[in-house]
Symmetry: C2
Subunit: 334 residues, 2 copies
């Protein structure tokens, strides 16, 4: 099971939950002051601890760009990580939802991603991993500042908790900007699917905590949990309203989106995401019955550009070829 | 069997063939000079002759506008006929392809419509009907001018032969205007699906003879037949070219058209015609295998606005309701 191969709690509005801890070793320089030699040393020092508990190591200096991008598409690494030139490695334990970047901006960026709304579970899980780390290495920590990180915005808990939400009704209702402003006032941010700087496609939004200093991890998570529940209620209410109005235009849009997925001969990534979003809403509203959320969710990652290309026997050479392959894959999976 | 419930010869480029004769009774005034009383007299005089050979009489002054329009959609009557206030009736023998308008512009407008390219068959058929008429009534005829008609453009043979062609490749290739100009130079005209003044939708064109004076019926038909064969060759060549180029955009357009027909929740008449056209081409090119020409051809008339509304248990009250009904009908038929 991985976050994208299953559905979890609140699956009609929540795709996945992610908690990440930023950690650094006490006796190594931070960030760009870390030499390639020292970075390698860190990786070699840390990797066995993870390997002992079921992780596999992916040396990012040795894999293809396509492979690296596929990990990005799965949310296991950051874009910066895929572009880094100095030594860096990913420690991966997919069944547990663990993905640990070694020598990204911080020495250790460990995260747990689970399907659906699972803040408590992800938090418990990542804490367990953190304990293992803590018992084996000396982690940079300051009594006043908490965990020391490369970027001051992560000082303190070093934690970012985020929930990937699916909010088509609020999007249609034009309520996203207002919601985003409200969230920023209470220290939360709303971003597109691929985090900072990415635009929201397919009514998918990441909501995460912004503040790491002067707040406990538990409070931070509780706050996020409460907000996600509130947003879920708003979204659910609005969806009921949409359905009770017997909106033929909406039913038509959703039905045609299914038609596109089932029939198109070529389909771009962004058209897929838009159709995905309409079909996902259609499943929730009971308009589409022949596709289930799980299959659709798996498809979502499977047909992302790099992941799709990697999985092909004859990798597509042009965007057009990839769009044709994407349409084939979608049709055969549905 | 009716022209729209079957396919005939050259079905990949020819939908139907129609031949119509304009005739008038010698001892009655023509056109607007015909009183309502006299029009009734003509109808009562002529109807039994047709009824004796399997026709049914439809009194157009007694049917609903919707019913009248449905006959127009099936090409059995002209638009003028549906709008006429004075007595007029349709004599119909669908299995033989016969539709005779009594008291349209001429006293008698008899036509035979058959599926596919069937000029000889339609001509033989309409001649047989003409003979029956000739032996029972005195028809207005002049040794020099031939058959006398209300409009001088029909004088002579009183015949119009027309072939409904499906020319998507020539349309895509931008060759229709040139073709239309060439045809007009040799006394043929090219029109949209619903004849004079109608625009061509879905790459469907009516090609018909224009000249009725100083030419025999046989020569007129032979000329049309030759031209239709030439156009068919051009269209077929061009379709081969399109396919040999492995045109993914075309395959995509055709596949998506099938998706629209199979999935849309509401669909307008013009969107249907456009999707119909793409799917029809897709069947011919072997891209679509799960729909046959016959079913598609039947649908074409079935989902026309008036015919569709007439066939509904609860006739749609708004255009939106009709578009929803159309989509339902299409889905259940495919």
């Amino acid at each position: 099971m991985t976050w994208y191969n299953d559905t979890g709690k609140e699956s009609s509005t929540v795709l996945s939950t992610r908690i990440r801890f930023a950690r650094n070793l006490a006796d190594y320089p931070f960030g760009s002051r870390l030499s390639a030699e020292k970075a390698n040393e860190i990786i070699e020092k840390l990797a066995p601890t993870f390997e002992n508990i079921g992780f596999k190591k992916i040396d990012f200096t040795k894999i293809s760009k396509l492979e690296a991008l596929s990990y990005l598409e799965k949310h296991y690494v950051s874009r910066e990580f895929t572009e880094k030139k100095t030594p860096h490695a990913l420690m991966l334990n997919e069944p547990c939802g663990y993905a640990v970047m070694l020598c990204e901006e911080d020495h250790i960026r460990m995260q747990c991603i689970l399907p659906g709304l699972a803040l408590d579970e992800a938090y418990a899980s990542i804490c367990k991993l953190d304990d293992t780390l803590d018992s084996s290495f000396e982690i940079a920590y300051n009594e006043e500042l908490g965990y020391l990180t490369h970027c001051p915005t992560n000082l303190g808990t070093g934690m970012r908790a985020s929930v990937m939400m699916f909010l088509p009704a609020l999007t249609m209702g034009g309520q996203i900007n207002g919601l985003s402003n409200q969230l920023s006032k209470i220290g939360l941010t709303m971003r597109g699917f691929y985090g900072e700087g990415s635009s929201a496609q397919g009514a998918i939004y990441q909501i995460s905590n912004q503040i790491t200093l002067g707040i406990t991890e538990e409070d931070s998570i509780k706050k996020l949990q409460d907000i996600v529940k509130q947003i879920t209620e708003q979204e659910t209410e609005l969806r009921k309203l949409i359905t009770s109005e017997k909106n033929p235009e909406l039913i038509d849009r959703i039905s045609r989106a299914e038609g596109i997925l089932r029939h198109a001969f070529m389909i771009s990534s962004s058209e897929f995401i838009s159709a995905f979003s309409d079909v996902r809403l259609g499943i929730d509203l009971g308009i589409i019955r022949s596709i289930d959320l799980k299959t659709l969710g798996e498809l979502f990652i499977e047909v992302m550009p790099a992941t799709l290309s990697l999985s092909a026997e004859n990798p597509p050479k042009t965007q057009k070829e990839r769009d044709i392959l994407r349409a084939e894959r979608i049709k055969s999976r549905l």
